[in-house]
């Protein structure tokens, strides 16, 4: 299903209204210092009132069957508001991994709960060095002799790793990287919260001590699944980044209009004016690349992987620039804890590096272009 422009507008308006009501700055600040880092009641409301978790899940699994375009709108709004919720890990990482696996049984088992907002989930890929490269995975999966598997090893930087009900894990078998489903309550699974640069996105280290797991998709299909998930997730992340960058730009421009120094608004100094215009250029490119990549995804266009790589790099840069300059335009006040500018700076840096960072995603882009 695809929403038309006016439906997208409506979706954006209702999500923004929800964010303004449920995720104002005070709420974000409170949640980033509490455990868990999200409000279960607000999460339930997002599911019941707006049906957000199920938005991009196929109807056969209890969702509304929309795609990345609609998901992008939601993520832009969540990024603007720094919404603290298990949305990113559950809907963008875990649900997309299940779908990419083509494993109908696993989808039927897990997606309806995710779509309804009853199940939260995450995807554990990176290990101590933070890389998402399947070739560097060391967590092992061994057959348990009864058709099941046992996982051994450690995952790191797992988003919502201490709270997710379902953990999808990329582990190595004889056949290669493969995807597994692990229940939060499985014996031998322990989760340790990590201190994070961006406290609005909780992360954890997971230890698997011979944990019982179910194979998702074919044995050895992990690499292919991961490539697909990374494309989709980086476009989703790009949308979130574009939303955050837009918010930084708006805040800066607003401040430049009202802050006076030397008897005039600072926005009337060409240096500040051009800085804001430079931010605008970045934000426009970011939005275009994120939205266009999402559109190509829904069309299953062959250009999608390239567009995804462009969106990932472009939005990472744009958000970082916007978040840095937002502090600078605010001067001293932008450097205080009380001002929200640093929350965006932290999110921008953290997002820029989430899937490996510029060195990695630049290479992915060139690779896809055959360079």
């Amino acid at each position: 299903m695809t929403a038309d422009d006016s439906e997208l507008k409506e979706l954006r308006a209702s999500v923004r209204e929800f964010m303004e009501a449920k995720s104002p700055e005070e709420a974000v600040r409170k949640l980033m210092e509490s455990e868990p880092h999200f409000d279960t009641e607000v999460w339930a409301q997002a599911a019941d009132q707006l049906r957000l978790p199920g938005l991009a899940i196929p109807e056969e699994y209890g969702g509304d069957g929309f795609g990345l375009v609609e998901l992008g709108v939601v993520l832009e709004e969540m990024g603007r508001a720094l919404f603290c919720a298990p949305f990113f890990a559950t809907v963008l990482l875990a649900a997309q991994a299940l779908l990419a696996s083509g494993d109908k049984e696993a989808c039927a088992r897990h997606l309806p709960g995710i779509a309804a907002g009853r199940t939260t989930a995450t995807l554990a890929v990176a290990e101590d060095n933070g890389s998402w490269d399947p070739a560097l995975i060391t967590v092992r999966a061994l057959p348990d002799g009864n058709g099941g598997w046992r996982l051994k090893g450690r995952k790191c930087f797992v988003i919502d790793g201490t709270t997710a009900d379902l953990v999808l894990v990329v582990a190595r078998t004889v056949a290669g990287p493969s995807l597994f489903a692990v229940d939060r309550s499985a014996t031998g699974l322990s989760a340790e919260p990590l201190e994070t640069l961006d406290a609005t996105r909780a992360m954890a280290r997971l230890t698997f001590d011979s944990v019982s797991a179910t194979l998702v998709g074919a044995d050895g299909a992990g690499g292919r699944i991961m490539a697909r998930v990374l494309d989709i997730a980086s476009v989703g992340l790009a949308a979130e980044q574009a939303g955050g960058a837009r918010r930084c730009l708006e805040t800066s421009a607003e401040y430049a209009r009202v802050r006076h120094q030397f008897g005039r608004p600072i926005g009337s100094f060409q240096a500040v004016k051009h800085k804001c215009a430079d931010m605008l250029v970045q934000v426009e490119l970011a939005e275009a690349s994120a939205r266009e990549a999402a559109r190509l995804a829904t069309e299953d266009a062959p250009d999608f992987p390239v567009a995804a790589a462009v969106a990932h790099a472009c939005c990472s840069r744009a958000y970082m620039v916007a978040a840095m300059e937002n502090i600078h335009v605010h001067g001293g006040i932008g450097f205080t804890w009380e001002h929200p500018a640093h929350l965006y700076f932290r999110r921008a840096k953290s997002s820029q590096l989430l899937f490996g960072g510029p060195a990695v995603y630049h290479e992915r882009l060139l690779d896809r272009l055959g360079i």
Partner: protein, 415 residues
């Protein structure tokens, strides 16, 4: 070759330091995984530890002063040594080989900026009262310049000082005041003549920070710590003899401080700064993160080092000019500008080598610790004059380019 007396002076400094301190570990030549990996540019210590650090800073300054190295260029009548700026530089170079307490809390603002201003503009008995105390480490000084409405445009300070007999009564609010919470005195800019053009109605006062009506409230920075403060002045009485310079002539006083500020801020530091710009440290980091042969990152590193090293050469040349007795001019803003940019680039370069390792603390040495420097970098482009203000100084005062057109109301104010 330095003249003989210089060699004697350096030898004397070495004897003193040998007796009072250990040789410093070189923070630029790192053994990966060993030692302290803290990269905090601003203090983020819990209050008790911070108080202990301040105590150690004061004590080291006292020892240094007791042996004639506390105020090398200062006039002997105020406890100084009466030597030249070259001796001062020489001592700094020798001391940097030793592991001595960090005296930044005293040095950066107080001894670096406020001390010279007091020396140049205060009345003799005020110099007697405060200069020896400051250079002995007993009195920490802060700069009460910025206000909520007066940052880049410092001449628009609104804190009022009204004369009452032999006293002045101060009312207003200061902000971003570094180290005010540790300070005994503050140099305040106040408005004494609201009718006069902005630059001509300002008077400078030395305010004892324990005077009734002075209230210091910590401001938390985005790094999490609280190095700076808001300072509220409510009916604070300051005797007229605490005035620096002429009534309504405070702008000249402010310029002395600001000139010294640019010199202080633009010079290289030890600790995290040295580590972040050190080829050894950065190459060790690249080895540890398996980015050693990443061509893109190597290119970035080279560019970063070109700028950092060229800035070092610029500073070396400025020091040589200083030795020749020539005061640095507005071109020093280049160093201030580059200092902030070099460190900012270094922090972002490092974060790209580390990748996700800088976004969550896995406990691994030398990884997440860099986030402390990263979070400090936005301040380096703001404090002591923003990048735009530095560029305006270079364009207008060095290159003589015309100022941006201003409204008639603001015109006289910017002259």
């Amino acid at each position: 070759m330095e003249p003989d007396d210089m060699q004697d002076f350096a030898a004397e400094a070495r004897r003193f330091l040998d007796a009072h301190a250990a040789k410093a570990p070189d923070r630029t030549a790192v053994t990966w995984g060993e030692g302290d990996d803290s990269m905090a540019y601003f203090s983020s210590l819990p209050p008790e530890e911070e108080a202990e650090q301040v105590r150690r800073a004061r004590e080291w300054q006292r020892i240094r002063h007791g042996h004639g190295f506390g105020w090398i260029t200062g006039p002997p009548e105020y406890g100084g040594r009466g030597l030249t700026a070259v001796h001062d530089l020489l001592y700094d170079a020798v001391e940097s080989e030793y592991d001595v307490p960090d005296t930044g809390v005293l040095g950066v603002v107080g001894l670096g900026m406020i001390g010279p201003t007091i020396l140049a503009h205060a009345q003799p008995h005020i110099k007697d009262r405060w200069l020896p105390a400051m250079y002995r480490g007993d009195a920490i000084a802060c700069q009460l310049f910025s206000e909520p409405g007066a940052g880049s445009d410092l001449a628009s300070v609104a804190t009022r000082a009204v004369r009452e007999g032999e006293d002045w009564v101060l009312n207003g609010q200061k902000v971003w005041t570094s180290v005010a919470h540790h300070s005994e005195i503050g140099l305040a800019l106040t408005r004494t003549n609201p009718g006069a053009p902005k630059h001509r109605g300002i008077t400078a006062f030395l305010v004892p920070m324990d005077a009734p009506g002075v209230e210091v409230r910590p401001l938390r920075q985005m790094t999490g710590g609280a190095d700076f403060n808001e300072v509220f002045l409510t009916d604070v009485r300051v005797p007229d003899d605490h005035r620096l310079g002429e009534v309504d002539g405070g702008w000249t006083v402010a310029l002395t401080t600001l000139m010294n500020e640019r010199n202080t801020v633009g010079s290289e530091g030890a600790g995290p700064v040295a580590a972040a710009l050190s080829p050894d440290h950065l190459s060790a980091l690249m080895r540890a993160t398996w980015t050693w042969d990443d061509r893109a990152l190597r290119g970035r590193l080279a560019e970063l080092l070109v700028d950092a090293m060229a800035t070092g050469y610029l500073n070396d040349r400025a020091r040589r000019t200083l030795r020749a007795g020539i005061a640095p001019g507005p071109e020093r803003s280049v160093a201030k500008l580059m200092y902030g940019q070099n460190l900012t680039r270094a922090a972002h370069f490092v974060s790209e080598c580390l990748g996700p390792r800088i976004i969550a603390d896995t406990g691994r040495w030398g990884t997440y610790a860099w986030s402390e420097l990263l979070l400090a970098t936005p301040a380096l482009r703001i404090l002591g004059g923003t990048e735009e203000i530095m560029k305006n100084i270079l364009a207008e005062r060095v290159l003589g380019l015309p100022k941006e057109p201003v409204t008639t109301m603001a015109k006289e104010v910017r002259s």
